[in-house]
Amino acid sequence: MIKKFLIIIFTTLALTLNVNAGSDGDLILKKNEPAEVKDCFEKINRFTFAFNQTLDGVVFKPIASLYRKLPSPAKTGVSNSLDNISHLITIPNNILQGDFKQAGVNTGRFIINTTVGILGIFDVAEYLGLTNYEKEDYGQSLAKLGVGPGCYIVLPVLGPSTIRDTVASTFNYLGGDPWYNITVGEDTQYFKNSDYYYSKGASGIDFRAKNYDSIENLKKNSLDFYASVKSLYLQDRQQKILNSRKIINTQNDSDWDEISQ
């Protein structure tokens, strides 16, 4: 079964891999167009999605609900600390994407916030003008290199992803994530394994709490919640890959104009 799964991953990547450092924004945009991402494992994905929904109802939602009741400064502190840790993956990916200036800015942010900002609890760098922090990961770097997303996939507990992003996330466990290296990896004299898992769990709770109303609202008003989440996830990935908050081809104007006649 695992062998079969690896073959599927390998074949998908081989089909989508088109390394081209010179890929322009349009090509990357097209490759990551949500409507173009195939849902090759839809039945399994829907099953995993249902499992994740149950898990959310039993674990994440109740904890997020309590977390929301914490005073704002406490929530901001937790959120800032988690963002600070995420710099450790963002910075190498800034470099991989050739964005050396941003790598410098983010390194400055990390040093200032870890020291003056007391382990990242306070975003002092923001006050000093080092603003607009955008997270980067190995999936985004592969996309920038021209690797297509492959099929859409829903991972147990972790949620929506694509084959490319799932494969890329394994880099985190192969030395690509300094936070993993100093907690779960070999050099663990200052931290425990549990520190890593607590931080990952806290990230999930923080995300769930920040989007609590939006998720509940979407769930209540969706005709097909699975399809809505898939669409929103893929739109979000497309934006993050292009590092653009601009409206990306949200609608084909000619499509609308035909309606208007």
């Binding site: 409507a35 109303d213 609202n217 005709l223 699975y226 739109q235 990306i248 949200t250 208007s260």
Partner: protein
């Protein structure tokens, strides 16, 4: 000379009248938001709020246009009766979904920040939903259809870069794909949503 002067006055009069009816997209959005905020902050029952919000939606949103956009290319295969039925069902679905989503908020504060004219048909209005102790601030962009400047209409809400119209389109496509592109399956889903 006198006639020429009169003609000029009449010309400028109509020019002024004509331009005074066109509504700027950002002012239109701010006014719509203010109307909705007022209703949400009033001491009304949830049902009363929903009914008032529906009226605002009918006046300011291009529901028919969004409906057919959402349907995608399959709309070209529908006959007139199916189009009529779809428009009716979509309107009911949209109004219920829209008002239900909004009625969860109490006194939301939205500030219109800027606008970007894409072309003569579309303007994007940028706004910010202020954060509260329970949720962070949210960027909301409004795609306003301005072909008729006297009657601008909202065609999409883009929340933190995520388009609601596009999400809905992909949701409908998923329902159709799961049912061999049978429009009746979508009709049934829409009917069930509106009834519940």
């Amino acid at each position: 000379m006198k006639i020429r002067k009169i003609i000029l006055i009449i010309f400028f009069y109509f020019l002024t009248i004509g331009s005074s009816f066109s509504i700027e997209a950002d002012i239109f959005v701010q006014s719509t938001v203010n109307r909705a905020s007022k209703i949400l902050s009033e001491n009304l029952s949830k049902d009363e709020k929903i009914n008032k919000l529906k009226i605002i939606a009918e006046e300011t949103v291009d529901i028919r246009g969004i409906g057919f956009y959402t349907l995608g290319s399959i709309r070209k295969n529908l006959d007139d009766n199916q189009k009529k039925k779809y428009s009716k069902l979509f309107r009911e679905y949209f109004l219920k979904s829209f008002s239900s989503r909004l009625s969860e908020y109490t006194n939301p504060e939205i500030d219109v920040l800027s606008k970007e004219v894409l072309n003569e048909n579309y303007t994007i209005v940028n706004s910010l939903l202020k954060g509260t102790s329970e949720r962070p601030e949210v960027k909301i962009d409004w795609r306003v259809y301005t072909k008729n400047p006297e009657n601008p209409l909202i065609r999409d809400l883009i929340i933190e870069g995520l388009s609601l119209a596009r999400t809905q389109k992909e949701e409908f496509a998923s329902i159709l794909n799961s049912n061999d592109n049978q429009i009746d399956a979508l009709f049934k889903t829409l009917e069930e949503f509106s009834k519940n």
